[in-house]
């Protein structure tokens, strides 16, 4: 099983542990990830607010490179990258925009590669395999936090229920965990303000952590590097907004699956978190 792989900047920087766990889990499930050659920035955070052509050309180049490599399916673990690639693919169904972008790129672009996130990868190619390979059931009560970019806008992504997504919950239950029915699954963590207004980030992320803590979560499960860094790295600032400081770890879905598959904390990058992970 060979799947294209677009890590994006976060996975090579602040969320190396996400990269490590994705690669480790894929290996354990016999999925061969083929990194896109000479990949570039997807343009998230800045481009799509500033310049439409740039915001479409950057992801289009990534997909054009994938097409060149003959990758019919590309997994994009970062929720922001996933969102940008999917939205671009959708926008470029418009003939005028597509010809303009092809003109800018000076390379062919079909829009034929299927862009999937990590949850879809695991669902489609791992489900049976995972069940068979569980060595240490993930027997924890956790809150699955999806954030915004993974499920919205539904009309384009067409992935999961938009207000109450279920795919991570299903995955966690499959590896032996229990999941919370809670209200903050898709609430904003404040990532859009993570540079300019860190006070708001602390408040918004604090709301999320508080609800999870009140309902007895042992950990938060995420599939987005922005969510993870806000909830984990900014814990000090968050805890100042909370009545009771929280030490709930925030781990990636691939780390949780990896643990169930018997992979070591080292392999899964669990030592890299700010809030200590003891699961």
């Amino acid at each position: 099983m060979k799947i294209g792989f677009y890590p994006g900047c976060s996975l090579t920087g602040s969320s190396r542990e996400y990269n490590e766990s994705v690669v480790a889990v894929a290996k354990a499930l016999d999925i061969e990830l083929i990194e896109i050659n000479d990949w570039n920035c997807c343009g998230a955070t800045a481009a799509h607010a500033m310049n439409e052509e740039l915001s479409l050309s950057l992801p289009a180049r990534i997909m054009a490179m994938a097409e060149k490599q003959g990758l019919t399916e590309v997994v994009v673990p970062c929720a922001a990258c996933y969102n940008r690639l999917k939205v671009t693919q959708h926008e470029l169904e418009d003939d005028t925009k597509r010809s303009r972008v092809i003109d800018i790129l000076k390379m062919p672009y079909q829009g034929s590669s299927r862009i999937i996130n990590v949850l879809q990868l695991l669902e489609m190619y791992g489900a049976e395999n995972i069940k068979a390979k569980i060595t240490r059931p993930f027997a924890h009560k956790v809150a699955c936090y999806y954030g915004c970019l993974l499920v919205r806008p539904h009309s384009i992504l067409k992935f999961d229920r938009v207000e109450d997504p279920q795919s991570m919950d299903t995955m966690i239950k499959m590896v032996g965990g229990t999941t919370l029915d809670w209200a903050f699954k898709t609430e904003c963590c404040g990532a859009g303000f993570s540079v300019s207004r860190t006070d708001l980030v602390a408040k918004l992320s604090g709301n999320i952590l508080k609800d999870a803590a009140d309902r007895g979560a042992e950990a938060l499960i995420v599939a987005c590097p922005m969510c993870q860094s806000n909830l984990d790295m900014r814990r000090g600032a968050i805890n100042k907004t909370l009545e009771t400081p929280s030490d709930i770890p925030v781990i990636y879905i691939t780390q949780a699956i990896g643990l169930a598959l018997g992979l070591s904390a080292q392999e899964l990058g669990l030592k890299r978190h700010f809030v200590t992970v003891e699961l």
Partner: protein
């Protein structure tokens, strides 16, 4: 050569603003066979019609083309004018210059040229038109009313009171509909049951009304004045001629936990049940899906309890046929359930209710006997939040329209709550308050001013449960977009009114049109609001679009008058758009060779076999003949006929080919 008169209408400026009407009249005037062509500001007005009548006489016209609006609008008007001037009405045709031309194109040369083409087509068609005689058909003076809510009840009573027979069919075991579920009604706070139940009884006792409850329309055939309705009488499993309605069986039924439809799921009922105490008829039916006997083959406690032996276990659905002359559709509406709202918990929070459920809580006959109590723990809610436009006016939810009744009933709910829970606090989140109607705005003001209901203009983003409270997160757009968070004990969603389930299938059975939301379509949005596009079928109430009680009752009376007017004739005049098989002089008799392909095409069994016999009585050949009473004029047989022996009056091959040839023959 033909002498055709052409009359081009400006329709005020509706046509003349984009079409050069003078040029149209001028160019058409030069066409071969056109004797007279003029344009005028309002052709449908009295002076306009007089122009036509005078021209028919003065020029001895043998055909008229009016270039104006859609023939669906004014064809009868102009045909009548021609008839009054002594011209056969079927020699008059309309070219649609408004809906199909001036309204859909910008002012330009091309638009005028298209208008000329459209008129030209009809001129060529009219040249081939033949004088036709209307067909007279008898009228069955009995009406079928489908749906026994307030709309159906009102329509039935009004028709019955004109002395005509009515058959009222209701799907549920009792008539009464949604109105019977309501507690009090806006803007008077009349008790709904008190004003409705006397009418329900009147229906049951009226000598002209035959009531079939627990019954559904199976099929409808025929046409205006002459419908044949097949009605499925669902097996009630109780013999109503012997049942006294004592209710002992209901007391003893061991299956008690079925969610009650009447109480919108908040209360329970038994398997043998009467939907509510004031039901008409007040006799039970057995719900076979939930009954122990039908499920497992044992129980029969009701049979042992019944002193008159009315339980009929083996009773099967029965299908009866009724002949009727008109049909009134009054099948009402439904409301979206709370599970339609992911942001409000997909229906998983017990204390998030629909407006209809709140009606049952507030109703004296409801599961709490009129006390407002939480379904989860029975506590009286101290803080309550009403969310208006739950689903309505939300294109993302697929319901872009306004459900119309929610603003008013939400004000009523808040008012009722404040009257019942004196120390309670109620908040209404709204988009706009739409209180158009007599005394409606005053009613809403009363809720706000006298009953101190807190109205917040803004949407609610999310409702979630925490520590037994429902956290309502919304925004107050009048206070600079401030976020509002309320810890409520109960949340009531004014969920959108939608078409009743099965309305699409019913529309297809009746061949009436419906809109994208499956509400039945009226024939004209302004001038024919109770008619459908199918003659003889009328609409009453919320099956056409959400509407409140006064409007529903008014519409039902309107439909009843239409039916009464229809029944005031012994014979109906039908358009002669029917198929005919050609007849020729002997020795040919007809080009029909009797292959009867037309018979396989006809959906109405209107094709008959005719034996053509010689003078000596010997059979010359079998030939097809059309029964004009049955033929509805679809013309499918015409396309099937291999020898071109059958044709349809008003749309003959000659006529339609002439239209096509005129268009392209330049």
């Amino acid at each position: 050569m033909s002498k055709i008169g052409v009359f081009i209408c400006h329709c005020g400026e509706n046509i003349s603003a984009t079409v050069d009407v003078e040029r149209v009249a001028r160019e058409i005037g030069g066409m071969e066979g056109v004797a007279h062509a003029i344009d005028y500001k309002y052709m449908c007005s009295d002076p306009g019609q007089t122009f036509i009548k005078e021209a028919v006489k003065k020029y001895g016209l043998d055909g008229v083309v009016v270039g104006a609006c859609s023939p669906r609008m004014h064809e009868p008007t102009f045909r009548r004018a021609c008839a009054e001037a002594g011209l056969n009405p079927y020699l008059c045709e309309m070219a649609n210059l408004r809906e199909h031309c001036s309204w859909v194109h910008e002012k330009s040369e091309e638009t005028t040229e298209k208008a000329i083409d459209l008129v030209k087509m009809l001129v060529e068609k009219v040249k081939k038109n033949k004088p036709l005689d209307s067909i007279k058909v008898p009228v069955t003076k009995k009406a079928l009313v489908i749906g026994g809510g307030i709309a159906g009840i009102q329509a039935s009573l009004d028709i019955a009171n004109t002395g005509h027979k009515v058959i009222l069919v209701e799907r549920d075991p009792s008539i009464g509909g949604h109105m019977s579920q309501l507690s009090e009604t806006f803007p008077t706070l009349d008790c709904s049951q008190c004003i409705l139940t006397p009418r329900m009884v009147e229906v049951a006792q009226h000598p002209n009304i035959k009531l079939y409850t627990y019954a559904e329309l199976e099929s409808l055939e025929g046409f205006i004045g002459n419908f044949k309705a097949k009605i499925r009488l669902k097996a009630k499993s109780v013999n109503y001629s012997t049942c006294t309605g004592c209710g002992a069986c209901i007391q003893k039924c061991p299956v008690k936990k079925i969610p009650s439809e009447f109480n919108a799921g908040l209360g329970t009922r038994t398997a043998i049940y009467v939907p509510f105490p004031q039901a008409v008829p007040n006799k039970p039916v057995i719900d076979r899906v939930n009954c122990n006997y039908y499920k497992r083959g044992a129980c029969k406690i009701c049979e042992k309890t019944c002193q008159v032996g009315s339980i009929e276990w083996d009773k099967e659905d029965e299908i009866i046929t009724e002949e009727v002359g008109a049909v009134v559709l009054a099948t009402g509406f439904d409301v979206k359930g709370t599970d339609f709202f992911p942001e409000y918990g997909y229906g998983q929070y017990k204390d998030v209710l629909t407006g209809l459920q709140f009606e049952r809580l507030a109703s004296a006959s409801g599961p709490t006997f009129g006390e407002i109590r939480r379904p989860s723990d029975g506590a009286v809610p101290k803080k309550i939040v009403f969310i208006a436009c739950a689903g309505s006016r939300d294109p993302a939810k697929g319901i872009p329209y306004c459900s119309k009744i929610c603003c008013m009933y939400t004000a009523k709910h808040a008012m009722l709550y404040q009257h019942k829970v004196h120390d309670g606090e109620s908040t209404v989140f709204y988009m706009d308050i739409r209180a158009g109607g007599k005394n409606y705005e005053e009613f809403v003001r009363r809720a706000i001013e006298e009953d101190t209901v807190n109205y917040v203009r803004g949407r609610v983003a999310r409702v979630y449960e925490k520590n037994g409270k429902l956290i309502v997160k919304g925004v107050d757009t009048l206070l600079g977009g401030e976020q509002v968070e309320i810890e409520a004990d109960m949340v009531v969603l004014a969920t959108a009114g939608v078409a009743n389930c099965g309305s699409e299938q019913l529309a297809q059975k009746l061949h009436v049109s419906y809109d994208p939301y499956h509400f039945f379509a009226e024939a004209h949005p302004k001038l024919k609001p109770v008619e459908t596009n199918t003659a003889g079928i009328y609409l009453a109430g919320a099956c056409q679009a959400p509407k409140d009680i006064p409007e529903t009752v008014g519409m039902a009376s309107g439909a009843a008058v239409k039916v009464a007017a229809l029944f005031s004739n012994d014979e109906l005049v039908r358009e002669p758009v029917v198929a005919v098989v050609n007849r020729l002089a002997p020795p040919l008799y007809s080009t029909c060779v009797g292959c009867f392909m037309c018979e396989t095409a006809c959906p109405y069994n209107a094709i008959e076999h005719e034996e053509i016999k010689g003078r000596d009585g010997s059979l010359i050949r079998n030939s097809a003949r059309v029964n004009q009473g049955l033929c509805q004029g679809c013309g499918t047989c015409v396309a099937f006929c291999r020898s071109k022996s059958i044709d349809i009056q008003g749309y003959t091959n000659e006529q339609v080919y002439a239209e096509v040839m005129s268009l392209l023959n330049d």
